[in-house]
Amino acid sequence: MRTIIRLTFLEMLKKKILYLTLALTAIFLLLYGTALKYAYGYLVEEGAIVRLAVSGQLVTMGIYASSFIISFLSVFASIGAISSDIEQGTFDAILSKPIKRSSLLLGRYMGILAVLLPYLSLLFLSTVGLNVFFAGSGASIFHAAPVVKSMLALWMLPIILTSVGICFSTFLPTVGSGVAVVILYFCAMVGGILEQIGGFMTAPAAKAALTNIGIVTSLVMPSDIAYRKASSLLFTTASGTNLSAEGMLGATVQPSTAMLFYIFAYSLLLLLLGIRIFNKRDI
């Protein structure tokens, strides 16, 4: 399995995927940092409540953009992890060697995560770090513990999406699995937004309907849960107060701890399903 992890990592390096991603990330952070500089410069003249509200929106925007980037990277890295190599015939030479198909699939999974998780950590910490740097005392809610917890919660995003992408990749062609995962991802995103909107509604029927849509979509594809959990953890103070920005991107309705267990079970189940399908199919 270690050889496959190494091979997957080498592929990202040799095909310049990693360098390109890092270069474009640097551009994103430069633009985001520039926006923060001017936004926080303006906020100095505002009162504490306005500062807190706007800085919350700015951080949320950065984290949301980061989660979007990492989501698409996870999808693109995983949807061809099995199918692309089958289509190109490269698995013929690999699987004629003494390696189990399950090891190949898990090696691919771990190889992708070995690149994505450090990248996500870098992106997340840079996003929060830029806010702390430009906001000064305005971002004092960011202590080390919630930041780390939030980052670890966001790790679930590539873990989920890579599991789904690899599982689909065992029985669908690369483009097909890409389309399927992206549609599921957007369904989850819309479901998450509807659930947040439902949280503000006062009419019981509408509130229940929107909340239930959010729950169902998050059971089918729990990717949005990872973002909401990360966001709520980031904005939860030591006293337990949730200062998440309200609105579509906020996380005023917090995902439960049971959902976190569900996410791990979901990812594991998809990997096992992927292994089962891969074992049975012809290469």
Binding site: R2, T3, R6, L7, L10, E11, K14, K15, Q88, G89, T90, F91, D92, A93, I94, L95, S96, K97, P98, I99, K100, K280, D282, I283
Partner: protein, 300 residues
Amino acid sequence: MIISTVNLTKHYNGKGGITNLSLSVKEGEVFGFLGKNGAGKSTFIRTLLGLIHPTSGTASVLGKPLGDIEARRKIGYLPELFQYHSWLSGYELLDTHARLYGMKQPDIKRRIGDVLDIVGLSGHDKKRVSEYSKGMKQRIGLGCAIMADPELLFLDEPTSALDPIGRKHVRDIIHMLKSEGKTIFLNTHLLSEVELLSDRIGILDRGKIKTVGTLESLLNSPLVIKLGGCNDDMIASLKKYDDGISASEGIITMNPASDEVIPAIASLIIEKGGRLYEIKRMENALERLFIRTVGEVDAR
């Protein structure tokens, strides 16, 4: 037996592939597997390697069931088309395949040097495989196949991308491997390669095995004698070597039971007043056998 299959069948959506294929390959032999494009040769190899699952039938490779991990440790495989990670350098590619075999450093480093020498790519190992010529890619693929010094080699069209010099090089490698006692299963549609390399051959057509045997037994290639001074007495005397002898315009065609009698035939011709110019087995015998075998089916 190194390879043994009984009624092995692989159908795709109920058709194509191979049907009831029963075959045995002995240790240390070079088995040439002939067939037209699409006859099912690659399907057979891929089934034996566990890459595709048989529809029915049984088979064993190196005494183990199909796809067995321990058996694969002793198998080398060169796929038909170049299907490797071409973004790696030649060295990295061999290194990756060595690791897949479970080889350890520094054995890997030493073996890569040996393999590069064998396949004639020393000095090209730092270059990306995508920059290799077709022939170099074929040879690095062969290098991957022999990396772990396997007991059994499956070579699927190993010379298809090569020029005449490259072909000779690969033939020399196969001869070397054979002399080391390796069993080689050679898939090809190039009859000349099979003729030069194989101990036994099998001809596959539309997924079914049509004939299997040693080259000598299958070819039964007639002896062609060019001579002057041919006479009835000479022909009558030569009939003791082959009743079905025929003669016309200075050429005698006959099929003696063994090549051992050729010197006696030559002596007899001279003794009977003939002038002997040439004695040789008829050329393109394998081609004729192949066309006869496959053509008979086409005609039905």
